[in-house]
């Protein structure tokens, strides 16, 4: 799960990680009030969306006066912000963070992530702050510091020193930096984060270490023990069909093709998308109904696929294991009767109770196209959408 910068900074504040003074605003007047409250100019007005690259897209602007704040906040609020992470469709900006300007002397990069290969927590830091870290890693790998921590032991003082000296920090900022790093690690562990990132972490002319930006992502599997974080969820940042699907425990991701598909199991669902593409069509979605799907879930899956107006045909691919083919077939029949499916549906079933499942489909009187195997199914649905 992702949250906004201003929400991440609330968490930073809770962990005594220094951040610039600032306030979130939902309208121009509120933005002006927030700026006035800071008591000095310039201030920075930052678009709040769940995507990086906001500065380059015109979503972060400096304001020198109250009138200036009105101008830039007016430009940013309501804009459709396009960055390299939003896709070409962009995101509508509904709120801005208004922050004090700082005298920046140096910009650093600092993040903490779980490393899947080593099962360690890794701290990544660089003197090349404020830039895209993937680019830094690719072009100047010597500028990247990585320190691995065994989560059973936790962060030690020497870990922090390794990072601090690796960044060539001046003597007077070593202490505030190491304090910040160990608090950031504590936050990472306490909330089951999948990423905490500060880019840039700045050192000011006054030799203060301050998190100018803040990005915090959470492990979805751990949200059951962080109910307070769930309050940060912003539905405006999610695809409406994906929100709808999540209410029925369906794993749905909207894509831009025209073949809707419903599959049990994530791996098979991905492979089904791939084979649709190879047959010359394009998948409209990823939809994993999971191992324990019932007729109601299948029905809702259908409804969600059909609410995507680009869908010209549907491929159902089920390998019955825990989800039996007869249960799936009943769901399909129920859904077809209720929602009045108006596009051709190709069904491919295999595995547990497949004969019973095929019988149910055959005797339903519905116009379903059956396929003998996966290749056959992909070709049939691709031929249909080509018209």
């Amino acid at each position: 799960m992702k949250i906004h910068e201003y929400q991440a900074k609330e968490l930073f504040k809770k962990y005594a990680i220094p951040i610039p003074e600032g306030n979130v605003a939902f309208g121009v007047e509120e933005a002006q009030a927030a700026a006035e409250k800071l008591g000095a100019y310039p201030v920075v007005v930052k678009a709040q969306i769940h995507a990086g690259g906001r500065g380059k897209g015109g979503g972060v602007k400096l304001a020198q006066s109250k009138a200036d704040v009105a101008t830039v906040a007016g430009q940013i609020l309501g804009m459709n912000l396009v960055t390299h992470q939003t896709g070409p469709e962009g995101r509508l900006v509904k709120k801005v963070l208004v922050e004090q300007g700082l005298n920046i002397q140096k910009e650093l990069y600092l993040s903490i992530i779980p490393d899947r290969a080593t099962a360690k927590v890794v701290i990544i830091a660089s003197e090349a702050g404020g830039m895209d870290i993937e680019t830094v890693a690719a072009n100047t790998p010597e500028k990247i510091i990585k320190v691995y921590i065994n989560p059973l032991v936790g962060i030690q003082a020497y870990h922090c020193r390794e990072v601090a000296y690796g960044l060539h920090l001046a003597a007077e900022v070593i202490k505030p930096f190491t304090a910040l790093l160990s608090r950031l690690y504590a936050l990472f562990m306490a909330y089951d984060c999948s990423l905490v990132e500060i880019n840039p972490l700045v050192i000011t002319a006054e030799q203060n270490v301050i998190a100018l930006d803040a990005k915090v992502n959470f492990d979805d599997n751990a949200l059951f023990r962080h109910k307070d974080i769930l309050a940060y969820r912003d539905l405006d940042e999610e695809n409406p069909l994906e929100i709808d699907a999540s209410r029925f425990n369906l794993n749905y991701i909207a894509l831009d093709g025209n073949v809707g598909n419903m599959v049990n199991g994530a791996g098979l669902a991905m492979a089904t998308m791939d084979i649709i593409k190879q047959a010359g069509a394009s998948p409209a979605n990823f939809l994993d109904v999971g191992g324990g799907a019932n007729a109601e879930m299948v029905e809702n899956g259908f409804r969600i696929i059909l609410s995507d107006k680009n869908v010209k045909g549907i491929l159902i691919n089920i390998f019955g294991g825990i989800l039996r083919c007869d249960v799936l077939a009943e769901g399909v029949v129920q859904a077809a009767r209720k929602t009045g499916i108006n596009v051709p549906v190709v069904v491919r079933m295999e595995g547990t109770n497949v004969e019973e499942g095929r019988r149910i489909l055959r005797e339903s009187g519905l116009n379903l196209i059956t396929a003998v195997d996966l290749k056959d199914a992909a070709q049939k649905v691709a031929t249909i959408v080509r018209g």
């Binding site: 599997n221 791996g267 098979l268 649709i276 190879q278 191992g291 825990i322």
Partner: protein, 291 residues
């Protein structure tokens, strides 16, 4: 022959009295697996069908000589269950549970280091040696006993699809293993490839990967150096958009890392035959492995 499990494996089931635990225990028993014990805290002395239930894994091992555990414990308590099994020196732990927090699995993985237990999963369908023993949730009849092909996969139903195509072509399997779709798991591709290479009955291997992480790239390098048996590789998720988690917690392209195209290129560079269209996998297996 087979790898990791066979007809002598003595299975205990953690979470045996739950709905899923019960259902799949019965399926395993029906397949011929020796299920000797169950563990549910607070239910010692009860029986699930004919299987005695114990409070702790240690009690179950002492009373029954169980050497393998299958875990159906819900996500919040699954890490604890895995560590309990490892602390009782169970040889093989098969964790079926989906949805365990990553941090819990990182702790488990570090806890396991230096211990004798092997972990398969979590978030996996389990392991089956066709005709001998099934430890997991896969449909038994899809498999064909007698070998000679070993299957290792990060997926569940996609593995069934692969095995189905092998069986349809008349090609049997020695052992099929789902190593799970989570970012941090126990047994990896390399462990299985190494074991298949050493198993005299296995003459070829099918390896099923997907986007996310670098496990397939590492496995490809291992195959080039250490595996003399023919390997067919498949990667799911070529059409997946970057930055999105595709159902499996581990299936995500991060920046330029973890793409299907990169994995396929790495496999080809290491001399692995890559199946580029899942619909033709069975035929490709016939041409590479023979009948």
């Amino acid at each position: 022959m087979s790898i990791f499990v066979n007809k002598n494996t003595r299975l205990l089931v953690q979470g045996i009295t739950g709905k899923e635990g019960q259902f799949h225990t019965r399926q395993c028993v029906a397949y011929g697996t020796q299920v000797v014990a169950g563990v549910t805290p607070g239910k010692a002395g009860q029986k699930m069908d004919d299987v005695p239930v114990f409070n702790t894994v240690r009690d179950a091992v002492k009373a029954t000589g169980a050497n393998c555990s299958m875990i159906f414990v819900p996500p919040p308590f699954a890490a604890d269950a895995i560590m309990e099994a490892a602390d009782a020196d169970i040889d093989l732990i098969v964790a079926i549970t989906e949805g365990i927090p990553v941090m819990d699995m990182m702790r488990v993985k570090n806890f396991l280091s230096g211990r004798k237990s092997r972990l398969i999963g979590p978030n996996c369908p389990g392991i089956i040696t066709p005709g001998e023993c099934k430890i997991g949730i896969m449909p038994g009849p899809t498999h064909k006993p007698g070998g000679p092909i070993g299957v290792v996969s990060r997926s569940g139903t996609l593995t069934y699809e692969v095995v189905h195509q092998l069986t349809q072509q008349g090609i049997g399997q020695t052992t099929c293993i789902g190593i799970g779709g989570d970012p941090v798991n126990g047994t990896n591709f390399i462990d299985c490839l190494d074991a298949f290479q050493k198993d005299p009955q296995t003459s070829g291997i099918v390896m099923v990967g997907e986007i996310g992480g670098t496990a397939e790239e590492e496995a490809a390098a291992f195959i080039q150096q250490h595996v003399t048996k023919p390997v067919i590789g498949f990667i799911a998720g070529l059409t997946a958009p970057p930055g999105r988690r595709m159902g499996h917690a581990g299936a995500i392209i991060s920046g330029s890392s973890g793409t299907g195209q990169g994995k396929i290129a790495a496999m080809k560079a290491c001399g692995i035959t890559v199946c580029e269209n899942l619909g033709t996998l069975g035929e490709l297996c016939v041409s590479v492995f023979g009948k």
